[in-house]
Symmetry: C2
Subunit: 247 residues, 2 copies
């Protein structure tokens, strides 16, 4: 038996999120269906680094699966791509040790969130950028984001629907980059709770708009109360950018 | 009665082209439906600079319509946007003379065509770029394109389905621009026949790939035979970029 690690990009627009659901098209279901075809009808279960929500995209999601198929490594890439739909793209395929686990072995993850500013929503970016047509103080947003870096209990920035008990996570860095009419947020951390990046972005945007003071952030963290943080920015501006492992 | 000139962008992905069809969602139908709603049920017919095919996008399509509604000019923009779907964006609204006609008064048009190169198709560009993973000689393509500039009978570069008798058109300029892993074609001319830009691009790409010699182009033009030109590049790489009028 071989364990195969696979890195994919996907356009989340036409998916009902990553995880298999009773209804709706999901990324996991499409990949497992494709692999089952490749394995001549044998079911293949995949294990991903984590889920992504409805409309959320990936530039570097990672999953693994086990196989008895004897395909040379260099052929796996095309073999998998052939059985996937056009909105899932295989980026890399590797054979890994049978000990490797896509979720448990994650060392860090990077998420990026993109905002389109300006007066009118650009039709060509409507599925990939959160349109937020307000004046923003980047300085205040950076000041607020600096208080989020480090190890904190992120209960206030987590959806109540989470199944995780431990809400302590470490954010290694937050960058806020202005590019033409866009704002790009880059979050690197050891892990992120459900909706965490989207609530962080929603809250930082409210700071940028002047609806909250940058100093408030520490109080919000301390309160451990989701009601105290800002709105959940929509899924379609979010990209799971990279998942890092030790080797 | 007032004549209103309106400039719009649209993402052609989910449209069955511009012109109203018995079946399928079209840009004209969506706009006329919206304007009818705005006019409290009265039908409003629009006249565009020309049609665009299925999957073809626009960054600057122009149409006009006549109205008895007494809306101040500065309110028209939002009034129209409100009744349009999210994949059609109003860019500009002007009141024009009752003599103005969006199609007959066109002085020149610009189309741009985008190609994605490289080994793998990028999922995020699949609806907006023609994926063409072949080695290309840009030099040969430029040489071939230079022979297309000027006034010619473009019968060889026109779909048989056209309803136009006169196939003589003038191309003012063709630019071919390399940008990272993309190739961008810019065509400016006094008008373009059905599928003309797509057949020009298909033929130029075949020259770039070495399947045709640059010198062949004049023979293809002379032959007045669609069979002699190259393939029709797909609609989703094409953008109606700008329509120019005298005033």
């Amino acid at each position: 038996m071989k364990r195969i690690k696979c890195k994919v990009a996907y356009d989340g627009t036409f998916f009902n999120g990553f995880q298999i659901q009773p209804k709706g098209r999901t990324i996991q279901a499409e990949i497992e269906k494709g692999l089952q075809k490749l394995h001549k009808g044998t079911q293949v279960k995949i294990y991903a680094s984590g889920r992504t929500d409805t409309f959320v995209h990936a530039k570097g999601q990672v999953f693994h699966f086990d196989t008895l198929m004897d395909i040379p490594l260099e052929r796996w890439h095309n073999a998998i791509q052939t059985v996937l739909p056009s909105d899932i793209e295989v980026l890399e395929v590797n054979e890994v040790s049978i000990e490797f686990h896509s979720r448990f072995d994650v060392v860090s993850k990077e998420y990026r969130y993109f905002v389109q500013r300006g007066r009118r929503m650009d039709v060509f970016r409507r599925h990939y950028r959160y349109f937020y047509p307000y004046q923003l103080s980047i300085e205040n947003m950076v000041q607020a984001s600096n208080q989020l870096i480090g190890t904190h209990d992120f209960t206030s920035f987590c959806s109540a629907k989470t199944d995780k008990e431990d809400k302590v996570r470490t954010i290694y860095s937050i960058e806020i980059i202005e590019k033409e009419d866009e704002l790009e947020f880059r979050f690197v951390g050891d892990g992120f709770l459900r909706n965490m990046v989207r609530i962080l972005v929603g809250t930082l945007l409210e700071v940028g708009r002047g609806r909250r003071q940058p100093e408030e952030i520490l109080n919000v963290l301390d309160s451990k109360d989701r009601e105290r943080a800002g709105h959940t920015a929509p899924g379609h501006g979010l990209f799971l950018w990279e998942v890092n492992y030790d080797n």
